[in-house]
Symmetry: C2
Subunit: 352 residues, 2 copies
Amino acid sequence: MQTKNNHLVIMAGGVGSRFWPMSNEDRPKQFLDILGKGRTLIQLTLDRFAELIPIENVWVVTGERYADITREQLPEIPESNILLEPCRRNTAPCICYVSWKIKKLNPMANIVVTPADHYVEDIKSFKEAVGEAMEFTAETDAIVTLGVKPTHPETGYGYIKADLAFSSSRKKHVFRVDGFKEKPDLKTAEAYISEPNYLWNSGIFVWSVSTIVNAFRVYQPTMSKGFEALAKVFGTAEERKAINAFYEKCESISVDYAIMENAEEVFVRPIDVGWSDLGTWGSLLKQSPHDDHGNALIGKDVAVFDTQNCIIHTTENKRVVVQGLDGYIVAEKDGVLMICKLSEEQRIKLFH
Amino acid sequence: MQTKNNHLVIMAGGVGSRFWPMSNEDRPKQFLDILGKGRTLIQLTLDRFAELIPIENVWVVTGERYADITREQLPEIPESNILLEPCRRNTAPCICYVSWKIKKLNPMANIVVTPADHYVEDIKSFKEAVGEAMEFTAETDAIVTLGVKPTHPETGYGYIKADLAFSSSRKKHVFRVDGFKEKPDLKTAEAYISEPNYLWNSGIFVWSVSTIVNAFRVYQPTMSKGFEALAKVFGTAEERKAINAFYEKCESISVDYAIMENAEEVFVRPIDVGWSDLGTWGSLLKQSPHDDHGNALIGKDVAVFDTQNCIIHTTENKRVVVQGLDGYIVAEKDGVLMICKLSEEQRIKLFH
């Protein structure tokens, strides 16, 4: 349910080129229709929250070079809600800035913060979870993270240890957090997922603006004071210049380190919604529609013979015929063709 | 050595699309730089004979739809020497037509006939062989075929059985032919190549114009009379129309069946010059320059990792990165990408 206090912050600062040649620094993953759904990941992100958040309360924080593509892909959003970072400083400065912006407009605001480049399959359950978390944070000083029910012992994510015995009296699906765990090794990850109370840290946060601003005041006083001092120029012609000057000086730190691991009233709302951060070609293959042989074929005219477990991604108007491959990535974009074993995808960064 | 009587006939009627997507009906193999040498196969064919044949004596017989591309690729050749077939009728009508054309201009002409889409590595030895054969046919009524010393028991070629005991008194490398053999099965091919006197039929012929015209008169009298009757309109505005009408009626038959297997004064000049008809992707891989891992990489910017025995062919201005392939064809052209195991290349015709 939308309320006028509900705000959405889409963090779209990623410059990843893990999906090269599909993604590159000119067009990172969030601006691509990487799943072949007719909408880019940032558009799908907006869609996912549309029923919960009035469009005028949607904020995007992204890099300066992505200003045009953001406006182009999300024309519904007020232009003044697109905040541009002059440099990359991880998530804490981004969230601190937008929180002060929102606070100035509405001190009663209730905020959900999300990465722009994740995927959720079961949107209905996801909305229920976010809605519940927002109802909770509207009434409390809680910081809530969505925690993903693990499907495998992933070593690429941080984990949240939940205290399942201690659910909120207000919301029975919201639990107190026992601790945040760094990316584990495989053995530790296996131990985690053998227990019911370890969840993946999704990087999706819910809090009221007063809660998060207070948390920054306490745990990141320098950063918080800096943005607070700039609040007087927010909405004026001076904002960009002042922000650019201050941003450079900000510490590059994640909100997890800066706030979450220190804060006291931290809760987690477990979700089991087919979430993926689409962090690897393998996860992309998993989330994309398959043929009977486990191939994800994204493109207008892709034909395969004797081929299985491949992801073939050609968003251009190409005819593609593949025979005799098992477990490969075939990706083509902008005059670049890449063929690589899925099991070797970590080497892609060396190729471009 | 050039003499003004020497003529070259380049048969460029092939429409093969075995090298799809590189080749297709709009641009068959002879018009492609399939080896990445900066010259197309028909241009390399002309180059190969340049020292032997005056340029004004070079003839090309090709399909009507290839008139423009032929003129574009061989601008040195007089336009009137490009003969256009209205339909495909195999090699005999093509050779009969051009032989009557040449005879009308020069009854003393001495002719070498070659396909447009073969490759020869050792051009120096090849020129010696052709020169010797032409000297022989200038003095005799002989029909000479170049016979390729086999390198493996190929089942895709016809074989020539030479009588090595009976070399010409005039040319010690020219031998009488004992017989032409159809494409053999593997066992027969293995038996052939275990003997020194079996050679591959290259489809390259040498004869004087009077010899070949007489042979057509004897063995293909209807065809021969037809073209002879049209000789009076050769070089006039009526030629095309008259040829088009007659060509339709010609039997579709190869010069091998029509003439060679019947003629009496048939000789063979063995060659061992790195010849290939470039009939398969495998032969293309063999003839192309390799890296240390047996890869033929044709394209402006092709990088491979953990890859061997692959042919990667992208004539367009593409960046290509391939990891982890062994024994594959990767070919891209005009918006079409094909990946196929070399061992399955016979299936390519099913793909397009």
